[in-house]
Symmetry: C2
DNA sequence: TAACACTGTGTAATAATATAACATATTTAA
DNA sequence: TTAAATATGTTATATTATTACACAGTGTTA
């Protein structure tokens, strides 16, 4: 069981917006969209985004500087993310593959490093774009 | 056998610099360092970086917006990269793990997507920082 | 209750990362 | 030897993200 986070007003507004989109949103496009709700400055957006990432409600697509909601409602996994990204249409999908997750979770390098997180991004062409 | 790329002057200058560092360098720190060699503008740096990434001589650490040389001299693998990143000292190491590479290379999602590239970043604490 | 830590807010300014647009030069290939 | 492709140099600008400061709310804890 995990502590149920209570979101603040700004965090809710921004999470709502991201959850309504099935594709990643960029910080300044979020800013544009939430101006009508009284969020005026980049920092207000980034603060909310950082918090939402931290608690696993959204993930950052590092190669795209964009943020996508985690569809896995029970997801506490801010720490183990896998995405597929179409380089043509930029469609992004989060991948939940048990075997792959296991493999990555159990991965040990030869340097004695202790991992607590990973992010994997696959690139290619989606069905539509092939 | 692969076509041996001939690098231009700017590309060589920037590759040299990155190869001399065992840690990732950021574009504007590269710019600062190569100003004495007559490279004056961000775009000159980014153009060289993009080319070097494309031919696999360097890799971009997406989560850090930084560039590291590929130590694997035979590396044609701009397309399959794995890194370990220490979140305390920011030490970055490229990982070459045959079994892991195989697993990732062979990964198929359930959406019929055709992958041609992936990037995996592990985060944690290195030996020194534990 | 007051003192404190902690987290969040709002605002302005600025830093850091990256690309567009244009004119020109060099290299490669037909 | 012309055309296509790639690279250069420069200026300006777009995009992404943080610093710094003043203050407000919430929950200890003493």
């Amino acid at each position: 069981m995990q502590k149920q986070e209570t979101l603040t007003k700004n965090q809710k507004i921004i999470l709502d917006l991201i959850e309504k989109s099935d594709q990643p949103l960029k910080a300044y496009s979020i800013l544009f969209d939430v101006k009508k709700k009284g969020i005026n400055a980049p920092l207000q957006v980034y603060r909310a985004l950082n918090k939402l990432v931290k608690i696993g409600k959204i993930h950052k697509i590092e190669s795209r500087n964009a943020f996508i909601a985690c569809k896995n409602s029970k997801c506490q996994i801010a720490k183990a993310t896998v995405f597929s990204i179409c380089e043509s249409c930029e469609d992004v999908t989060e991948i939940h593959d048990h075997k792959l997750s296991e493999h990555l979770r159990d991965f040990k390098d030869n340097k004695g490093m202790k991992y607590n997180k990973y992010n994997l991004e696959f690139f290619g062409l989606c069905k539509k774009c092939i």
